[in-house]
């Protein structure tokens, strides 16, 4: 079984893999060792998805394009310094 790359996994890829895992577990075809591995992988994916949902659930933030650009320039300037 391949371990998911948490660094690059998008929300949709994570949810798709999670659905796959649940389906496999629900089928009852997975052996003991595979079940435990799938549960471990599934929990990691749940945490990842929860973090993504948390990031878009903290309250709407509105800013103008020029403010974002200024913020990014200030950030890159601070890094450069």
């Amino acid at each position: 079984m391949t371990e998911p790359d948490e660094e690059q996994l998008s929300y949709e890829a994570a949810t798709a893999r999670l659905e796959q895992i649940i389906k496999r577990l629900d089928s009852g075809e997975a052996g003991l060792r595979e079940t435990l591995e799938l549960c471990r992988e599934g929990r990691t994916l749940v945490e990842l998805c929860a973090a993504e949902l948390e990031a878009v659930g903290r309250g709407l933030e509105e800013l103008r394009l020029e403010d974002l650009v200024a913020r990014l320039e200030a950030g890159s300037g601070a890094q450069g310094a």
Binding site: S10, Y11, E12, T15, L18, E19, I21, I22, L25, D26, L32, T35, L36, L38, C39, G42, R43, V46, C49, A50, E52, L53, A55, V56, G57, R58, G59, L60, E61, E62, L63, R64, L65, L68, V69, L72
Partner: protein, 440 residues
């Protein structure tokens, strides 16, 4: 309207005539314009509005425009039918300049009073739009945006729209419906007529260049096609087509189709719908589904652990059960071997018994046979002892008469006269003589 006021003093130092009352000047202006030469004009019809008594529209070409009006009854007398005056229609009008002087409660307006109208053909702007659409399609510029991956749950959404427009509120309403509370970056730009295109293009490029924005919504409410024409700008559309960030367009109503709708990743009928499309996942439902998934994982994990514990317990009991099982199997085997031994001995015994019986019977038969032989021999000897031939061999002779009857006395022999004497080896005839009676 109050009565005209007394004429005030003019502007000091001005060499111009007046001041005149505006209403009078307006009436003179109207008369002046009406006196101008009546002409025929041609151009594209845009922004048609129909009131109870009049039609209003603009006559345009690439160099300029003129507001026009026409009495509704005169237009209806032309019997052109509904839809004949679509935006961009090429028309020829005849008439002359007019000026409505207005009143205290109505605004003045200038227009070209149309007396007659003829449909000339499809508008240049629409034809130009059609050619540009075909050219962009031929270059494959409708495709690149369609192949971009739109994130299901973007953290940052860019929006290009007019700062004071209703579309802004509609976008926020759409995002609210999705339960999405991420970061919105507003790229405000004018969204009216073709001069707005460069600013919309710049806003799109700047949003994409931040590297933070994952999807961009371009939104504008309804309007005439002329109002929306900035979204058909070639540079803007080429920019969108080649942008690395997916663009969702919602320009005008669903009946309008601008070029940006063709090149964008997705075209939506309303800004609200565009905002909802920018966040395909409903955040509330996604949270509920995730909670469900987590619960199911826990159930499966607990079940698996319980199963593992049961397996381990079974394994820990296994050696003892294995030995007991082996013991049971050995005892069983032993019992079977003993039973088989007993059965074999019984069988052997039976077989030996049968053989002994057979032998005994044979021995008995042989003994009986010997006894019979002995007795037979004795009988034979007894019989031989009584055999007359044996007696004859010892010197005796058997006397018989002519009839073969044995003659056992001398008297009988005399009576017979002739007798036969049988010795052991042969018989001889003899005659009994009379003197033989004397010897007796």
């Amino acid at each position: 309207m109050s009565e005209p006021q007394a004429r005030p003093e003019g502007i000091a130092g001005s060499s111009l005539r007046g001041p005149f009352a505006v209403g009078r000047y307006a009436a003179e202006l109207r008369d002046f314009l009406r006196a101008r030469t009546r002409v025929q004009l041609f151009g594209e019809l845009w922004n048609l509005r129909v009131s109870r008594t009049k039609l209003y529209f603009e006559l345009r070409d690439a160099d300029g425009a003129l507001p026009c009006s026409m009495w509704r009854n005169e237009f209806e007398a032309l019997r052109l039918g509904e839809g004949a005056l679509a935006d961009g229609a090429q028309i020829v009008v005849s008439g002359g300049l007019d000026y409505y002087t207005g009143s205290k409660t109505s605004s003045p307006s200038f227009s070209f009073a149309v007396a007659a109208l003829r449909i000339a053909g499809e508008g240049d702007l629409l034809a130009q739009l059609h050619r540009l659409r075909q050219a962009l399609a031929a270059e494959g510029l409708f495709e690149p945006q369609k192949h971009l991956v739109r994130p299901a749950l973007p953290r940052t959404i860019g929006v290009v729209t007019g700062e004071g427009g209703k579309a802004r509120d509609d976008v926020l309403a759409g995002l609210h419906r999705r339960g999405w509370e991420g970061r919105v970056v507003w790229g405000f730009a004018p969204v009216q007529d073709r001069h707005a295109a460069p600013k919309i293009t710049a806003a799109l490029q700047d949003l994409a260049a931040t590297g933070e924005v994952e999807v961009i919504v371009v939104a504008r409410g309804g309007g005439s096609l002329a109002d929306l024409f900035c979204f058909c700008d070639e540079t803007l559309c080429r920019t969108v087509a080649l942008l690395g960030v997916p663009v969702i367009a919602s320009v005008g109503h669903h009946t309008d189709r601008t070029l940006i709708d063709d090149v964008a990743a997705l075209s939506c009928s309303t800004p609200t719908h565009a905002a909802e499309s920018a966040v395909p996942v409903h955040c509330g439902e996604a949270r509920a589904a995730l909670t469900g998934s987590a619960r199911r994982l826990s159930v499966h994990a607990a079940r698996a652990l319980l199963h593992r514990a049961q397996v381990l317990a079974r394994l820990s009991r296994a050696p003892g059960e294995h030995i007991a099982g082996e013991r049971r199997r050995l005892h069983q085997r032993l019992r079977e071997i003993r039973a088989a031994g007993r059965r074999r001995i019984e069988n052997e015994r039976e077989r030996v018994g049968r053989r002994a019986l057979v032998i005994d019977r044979r021995v008995r038969a042989e003994a009986l046979d010997a006894l019979h032989a002995t007795r037979l021999q004795a009988l034979a000897m007894a019989l031989a002892a009584h055999d007359p031939d044996r007696t004859l061999e010892r010197g005796y002779a058997l006397v018989s008469d002519a009839g073969g009857d044995v003659v056992t006395s001398a008297a009988a022999a005399r009576r017979a006269g002739a007798v036969s004497l049988r010795f052991s080896d042969a018989a001889v005839d003899a005659t009994i003589r009379a003197d033989d009676d004397d010897r007796a």
